[in-house]
């Protein structure tokens, strides 16, 4: 019954339904706590991308691309880069030099502390996650196009 659908077997799909949300959540946790614990935008972005790679491996590429279309990937990739640059330029405008930490530092060990650093982490994670997933998608489409030839 399940054989007609793309992707792997029913067991893998069931397990994936349980785990993919947790992986995505863990990636977001790593990004948001980048200034408190080890991790940060690069590592968290890769984990977020891996959750979508997981979806794509288990359910096939149409299912994953329905959740996160290629246009959305391109937009979030560019948005991350522009957001990172905008934070740096805002520092130039507000504080007088590039990458000035213009937001309030807050108290240490709190989630909303360290000024611009969490925002930079979010921007980098958007960029890295979308970029890696875009490369993965391009490679998959490329190999499929090659097999059809």
């Amino acid at each position: 019954m399940q054989n007609k659908e793309p992707g792997m077997t029913l067991i893998v799909k069931t397990i994936t339904r349980l785990t993919v949300g947790l992986i995505l959540l863990y990636g977001i946790y790593i990004v948001l706590h980048g200034h408190l614990t080890p991790g940060g935008g690069f590592a968290g972005g890769v984990i977020i991308a891996l959750s979508f790679v997981h979806l794509m491996l288990a359910f096939g590429k149409e299912f994953a691309l329905k959740r996160l279309s290629q246009a959305a990937i391109a937009i979030s990739e560019s948005l991350g880069a522009i957001m990172f640059l905008a934070i740096a330029l805002l520092g130039l405008v507000v504080g007088g030099y590039f990458f000035f930490n213009f937001l309030s530092k807050g108290r240490p060990f709190e989630l909303f502390s360290a000024g611009i650093i969490p925002w930079c982490n979010i921007a980098i994670s958007l960029k890295v996650g979308a970029g890696l997933f875009a490369i993965f998608t391009a490679l998959i489409l490329f190999s499929e196009a090659r097999q059809e030839r």
Partner: protein, 173 residues
């Protein structure tokens, strides 16, 4: 003063590299730009960057020469082997002596000069408010590095998509 002369030389070499017809001369002009940059790092008191720049520049020069003009590379095989061997040995000794004086200035193994790092460790939390010191260095003290990394990644993604999607689109028709 030396820095301005060096910058003028580098600009001149870059213009030569773009304008000249011969590929080998162009590659050598690019190498001259890199060596000028290495000397500029040395003048600006950054010896570690100068060494890195020199090594990378030589590697890039070799790769560029092998990649661009592997066909018409002139190799002298016969005759003058004594002159060639002696001159090679002389140049190796010359560079070894220079490397001895250059490497003597580096800190000894296991005794790093922690002047900059000490500042980061002492004032990291106070200046940035981040308790993860690596993040405070990456995204606050050395954010330029991160900006460069992000730019490199962005360029790499665009390059992969440009190369891969062309084939996908032709097949989709």
């Amino acid at each position: 003063m030396e820095l301005q002369v060096l910058l003028l030389f580098m600009i001149f070499a870059a213009v030569v590299a773009v304008e000249i017809e011969d590929l080998l001369s162009s590659v050598i002009a690019v190498g001259a730009v890199g060596l000028g940059l290495s000397l500029a790092f040395l003048i600006l008191k950054a010896p570690d960057l100068a060494i890195t720049q020199l090594v990378v520049e030589i590697l890039c020069l070799i790769i560029l020469i092998r990649a661009t003009i592997k066909k018409d590379l002139v190799l002298v095989k016969d005759g003058r082997w004594l002159f060639n061997t002696v001159s090679t040995l002389v140049f190796i000794c010359f560079f070894l002596v220079l490397a001895y004086f250059a490497l003597k200035e580096l800190p000894h193994f296991g005794q790093p000069i922690m002047r900059v790092a000490k500042e980061y460790i002492a004032y990291g939390l106070q200046e940035t408010g981040a308790t993860n010191i690596v993040t405070s260095v990456i995204l606050n003290f050395r954010a330029y590095d991160t900006l460069g990394e992000v730019t490199v990644l962005f360029t790499a993604v665009i390059g992969v998509l440009a190369v891969m999607r062309k084939i996908g689109r032709i097949n989709a028709k």
